[in-house]
């Protein structure tokens, strides 16, 4: 063997060794399915992973996967399905008995072994999720004196909840009881069709009392966090990402299957940064910046990846009915009738939104009336009729349009809101000759301004997103006079009738009758009194790489356990 040849052979051998080693590490990498979602969290850090304190979509997105609730809303049909439990309800609709999935262990990610492990109790036995863990979570949310917003929402629905929340009754008197290890009983204050949906919300998730006792308000940090769902928390780099890891101990059910994707990395990124990652192939799911929408639509590959679907929010203008000239319903109706919603969507918003003529999202809420089904109730866009109404008002007061009090339209600082306001300002100027003045305020200041009948301007921008998929959450929770904070000063007979209607609808069990009641309530709010101008229903936009198989949720959160990713197809 010559020297040269020997060197060649040995080099080849080394190369083969290196390559085969590299190949084996590549297969190990490929064996693991990792999804990078740059859409779920947005640009700022997740505020909390405490189910009692969570109020925003990103906190809830993580929790819905790590600590599923008693019930679970189907992301497509929006039907309330069994989550961690199935349930039965007593004949009077007041007592709910939940049978919890037996022997689902609490788990925790161990960074040293890089594996999800079962949590053991002091005797070395696995800790299973029990009825008591759920009862503890509910008691903590309502009676924990934590300032829990959604604890307050739920308090109204659980026996003695309000008193416990306000501290006038001890937490032991709350209508929540663990009958045995896996049976939970919740007694409601009154029957309502949507109670299973409320009892499945995050403030009622099971919580690990032993961790909270040990770690105080730091218990949601990754070194302490424990969950039980299809995924659990692997890491949380504040301001950068949250990583979820598949829980191998999750048994899988019809509604919450065992996950296929091993790891889901939720990136905290600004819209345009998320799209850059998507285009570079370093993100599988991305947000859609409005500025890039035309470019995406024009691009063959990108437009394939674009998805536009419903979201849970409605965009409205509230009207302060105490301030002239909008203290007269004719002026308010004229304003609403001259907003060309479709033109606004086509020319300004461009995101496939739907025009709104009612406040409640007609596409995703239970018992929500569709404006098209109630033409006698919905406000119509009619410039001529609006002009006539305005003229009638002016004639009655004996003034000209110029003598009418000036109108202020206010929105919180945002380029998007500004564009909408300018477009509507122009519509009112062209159609009615009314020149409104636009004012903006920074968010914190703005909230203070519009939540007060004194300071709220004549017209102001507002948005509402659902907490649970029932119309009650829109009409009662925002506009019933007992809970209303929005500065619309609405207190005429229609407002009183509105209160009665939404109260009646709350306990009505017949779906059609409920829908009719809500339709009439919508009529009073958006047409007869025109205290709000519904403008459009938001859409959710996102981009998905072709190698991801997924469901598109119709509300704020995704169920990753139903997704799959083809790592081989990823370039």
């Amino acid at each position: 063997m010559t020297g040269k040849f020997a060197r060649f052979v040995s080099l080849t051998l080394v190369l083969v060794l290196v390559l085969s080693f590299a190949a084996s590490t590549i297969t190990a990498q490929e064996g693991k399915k990792v999804l990078i979602d740059a859409n779920a969290l947005g640009a700022s850090d997740v505020p909390t992973l405490d189910p009692s304190l969570a109020t925003d979509t990103s906190s809830i997105q993580v929790l819905i996967e790590t600590n599923p609730g008693l019930t679970r809303t189907n992301e497509i049909t929006l039907v309330t399905e069994p989550g961690m439990a199935t349930w039965e309800v007593s004949e009077d609709g007041l007592v709910y008995t939940f049978s919890i999935l037996p022997e689902v262990p609490w788990v925790k990610y161990n960074p040293e072994t890089d594996a999800v492990e079962q949590v053991l109790d002091a005797d070395g036995n696995p800790r299973y999720v029990t009825a008591e863990d759920f009862a503890f979570g509910i008691r903590r949310s309502i009676g924990g004196q934590l300032g829990s917003y959604y604890g307050g929402i739920m308090a109204g629905w659980v026996l003695n909840g309000k008193e416990v929340y306000d501290g006038t009754k001890p937490v032991e008197e709350l209508g929540v009881k663990a009958l045995d290890t896996y049976t939970l009983e919740i007694t409601a204050t009154r029957p309502a069709a949507f109670l299973p949906s409320i009892f499945g919300m995050w403030q009622a998730y099971a919580q690990p009392a032993w961790v909270i006792e040990e770690a105080g308000d730091l218990w949601t940090e990754p070194q302490y966090f424990q969950g039980y769902g299809p995924y659990t928390l692997k890491d949380w780099v504040h301001g950068e990402s949250v990583t979820l890891i598949k829980n191998p101990f999750w048994p899988g059910t019809d509604t919450i299957p065992v996950a296929t994707i091993d790891e889901v990395r939720l990136m905290i990124l600004d819209q345009s940064a998320s799209l850059a990652n998507f285009e570079a192939g370093t993100a599988d799911i991305s947000q859609v910046p409005l500025a890039d929408l035309d470019r995406i639509r024009a691009d063959a590959t990108l437009s394939e990846a674009l998805y536009i679907g419903p979201s849970g929010c409605t965009y409205i203008y509230g009207i302060n009915t105490a301030k002239p000239p909008v203290d007269d319903v004719r002026v308010r109706r004229a304003l609403s009738m001259t907003v060309n919603r479709q033109a606004l969507i086509d020319n300004v918003l461009k995101g496939g939104q739907t025009p709104a003529y009612f406040f409640s999202r007609e596409d995703i809420l239970a018992a929500a009336p569709k404006a098209a089904d109630y033409p006698q109730y919905a406000i119509t866009e009619d410039v001529e009729a609006a002009k006539a109404l305005l003229q009638e008002y002016l004639d009655e007061r004996g003034i000209t349009l110029e003598q009418m009090e000036p109108i202020t339209l206010m929105h919180n600082e945002s380029e998007g809101h500004a564009r909408i306001a300018q477009a509507i300002q122009q519509m009112w100027a062209e159609n009615l000759g009314i020149n409104v003045t636009i004012q903006t305020q920074e968010w914190g200041t703005y909230l203070e301004t519009i939540k007060n009948n004194e300071s709220a301007p004549q017209v102001f921008r507002y948005g509402w997103c659902l907490d649970y998929t029932d119309t009650h959450n829109f009409l009662y929770d925002v506009f019933h006079s007992s809970v209303r904070e929005l500065g619309i000063s609405w207190s005429d007979e229609n407002a009183q009738r509105f209160d009665q209607l939404v109260e009646q609808a709350m306990s009505e069990t017949d779906l059609q009758k409920r829908t009719d009641l809500y339709a009439e309530a919508e009529y009073l709010l958006t047409n007869a009194s025109a205290a709000v101008i519904p403008i459009y229903f938001y859409t959710s936009l996102n981009m998905t790489q072709p190698w991801v198989t997924r469901t598109y949720s119709h509300f704020g959160q995704q169920y990753y356990e139903k997704w799959d990713i083809d790592m081989a197809a990823k370039p």
């Binding site: 640009a43 700022s44 850090d45 505020p47 909390t48 992973l49 405490d50 304190l53 109020t55 004196q145 934590l146 300032g147 829990s148 917003y149 604890g151 307050g152 929340y165 306000d166 501290g167 040990e214 770690a215 105080g216 308000d217 730091l218 218990w219 949601t220 940090e221 780099v237 504040h238 301001g239 950068e240 990136m267 905290i268 990124l269 600004d270 345009s272 940064a273 850059a276 990652n277 285009e279 570079a280 192939g281 370093t282 920074e442 968010w443 914190g444 200041t445 703005y446 909230l447 203070e448 301004t449 939540k451 507002y462 948005g463 509402w464 809970v483 209303r484 904070e485």
Partner: protein, 336 residues
Amino acid sequence: MGRYIVRRLLQMFLVLFVVSLLTFATMRAVPGGPFSTEKNLPPRALAQLEAKYNLDEPLYMQYLHYMGDIAIPRLTENRLPPSVLNDYLINIYIPGIDKTLRWMNFGPSYKSVSQTVNSIIKNTLPVSATLGTGALIVAVFIGIPAGIIAALKRNTRWDYAAMSVAIIGVSVPVIISGPILRYVFGVQLKWLPPTGWGSFEHMIMPAFALGFAESARLARLTRASLLQVLNEDYIRTARAKGLHERIVIGVHALKNAMIPVVTTLGPLFAFLATGSFVAELIFGIPGMGKFFVVSITNRDYPVIMGTTLLLATFVILANLFVDLVYVWLDPRIQYS
């Protein structure tokens, strides 16, 4: 010199006290509060949150409480219950009495519920300071040589080229150059990761985007200052002595011309090191700038106070450092 430094450090505490008072007064004068949202928080919940964070006390008490937690050391048990309310920056175990001396509790964040100002700064300051240092290096290594070349080759093609680049740098802010860099090198060429943090590669684009804008300012300053110095008598003397031109420029002119440049470098580093909101957003960097800006929108009072005080400390220390460098640059300057 030692006494001078001590005096300056004592002055620093006075300045920080004034900064804290002004910041506190301004942020509490602004309408809106940390717990207002578009939803209706029940009054009971608001009361509970305000009680947790001492916001139900009169304003002057809140301020005293806050400053007390920072300034006054306290002796405590060795193991405190884990809580965002008792996260101290300095914890010294005292063996004799088996207690722990703790100091500097900058308070919890209202918005990031499981975080404290101390933990936010511990997590984000190293990121921002690394990026800031990188940006400063880019700025200095591009800006100063460009300024020198422009001054020495005054009114030549070199000068015009260097100053044109400088004008581009000054007039194209990070909010423009950042996305362009990201698109070209991250999306199209795929040479660098478009966003993220954790490796040297992640740092290249943001450090360049931030540094380039600043380098332009430095270049213009260096050029102007050097041109002025080159007209001084002692430069003529140095040349008349027959010194080599390289020594005239390198030792005599440049050292003196650096004084205004160094003056701007101090505060520049302070601002770069405490985070750039825009660069962090564009390049998805978990730095301090983001928390700083978001805390203002959220009325997250302790985070606003903590980050402002930190920035103020950085500016004061950087200025002190600059003043000390003067002594070396210009022998006529002395502190006693």
